[in-house]
């Protein structure tokens, strides 16, 4: 728990528990903040972008990623095991599904702010806002429009609520006219919003 919650009662309570743990030698002073900083430092949307670029250029990898994301990202030296326990990663792909319908996926945590920090870094403020969390499940088309993403009615929208232990990442559609780009250049096209599903890429 960091000092960022300084005004709240819970912050004082957490600090009290921390100091008790420190007094008993179970934690080094400042250890929790250090651990959080280490965990967050490894997380960056660049990791998610690398995964997407590999999936766009290697269909075999894309298939493995959608079947078992935890195993597939280890091929890129990435892992969901940075926290207390390895979190299950579920990657959902935008594009034309098996039944011919075009699908668009968008991720939310309605209960709190669960997010794949290891792959995307700390979450943006809007992701944690009550407005986003409560509205995107009810009116995703309207919320996406406010993000500047206008989807035709023919596109089926799935909202993924991270209500348990899985963390979700969206695999955006590869943009048109990018055939000549290298994997690294493709990764440069991918945005954090694209990985959450509030942008096309």
């Amino acid at each position: 728990m960091s000092g960022a919650h300084a005004s709240s009662t819970i912050s004082a309570e957490v600090r009290h528990v921390e100091s008790l743990l420190e007094a008993r030698g179970l934690l080094e002073p400042g250890e929790i903040d250090t651990r959080i900083d280490e965990f967050a430092a490894k997380g960056s949307p660049a990791n998610g972008a690398r995964i997407v670029a590999r999936a766009w250029t290697d269909p075999g990898f894309a298939e493995r990623l959608l079947a078992d994301a935890n195993a597939a990202i280890r091929e890129l030296g990435l892992s969901m095991a940075g926290g207390i326990q390895e979190q299950r990663l579920k990657v959902v792909a935008n594009g034309v599904g098996a039944d011919g319908t075009e699908e668009h996926h968008v991720v939310v945590c309605t209960l709190c702010s669960c997010y794949p920090i290891a792959l995307l870094g700390p979450s943006p403020t809007w992701y944690k806002s009550e407005a986003y969390r409560s509205r995107v499940v009810r009116d995703p088309r309207g919320v996406l429009r406010e993000f500047g993403l206008e989807l035709p009615d023919s596109v089926a929208i799935s909202v993924w609520d991270a209500s348990a232990e899985s963390r979700y990442m969206v695999l955006p559609r590869r943009p048109e006219g990018t055939d000549g780009l290298t994997e690294e250049q493709l990764a440069g096209l991918v945005t954090r919003k694209g990985l959450i599903g509030t942008a096309a890429v």
Partner: protein, 91 residues
């Protein structure tokens, strides 16, 4: 304990408002959806929040039609739910 549900199964979520922590979102209570995928086994968050020991329980991605949750909308919402929240929906 074998997983009770498989992809394609119709399930109904618990409708009672339990006291204390749960990971069944309010908007998805008492709703009928379809199991999309199994999501592994994890200790039940409701029990952990009460400081109790809990064995891993099956978890599922369950897909709901927005119209069934909110009365309108053409999208679907996939919620990740512990087996404890679900009963089989017949017919």
């Amino acid at each position: 304990m074998a997983d009770r549900f498989a992809p394609g199964d119709r399930v109904r979520t618990r409708s009672v408002d339990v006291a204390g922590h749960t990971r069944l979102p309010g908007y998805a209570r008492g709703a009928v959806g379809t199991v999309a995928e199994q999501a592994g086994r994890h200790p039940l968050a409701d029990e952990r929040a009460r400081g109790r020991h809990t064995e891993p329980h099956p978890v599922y991605h369950v897909r709901f039609a927005a119209a069934d949750l909110f009365g309108s909308g053409d999208h679907t919402v996939v919620v990740e739910l512990w087996e404890d929240y679900l009963v089989e929906e017949r017919g």
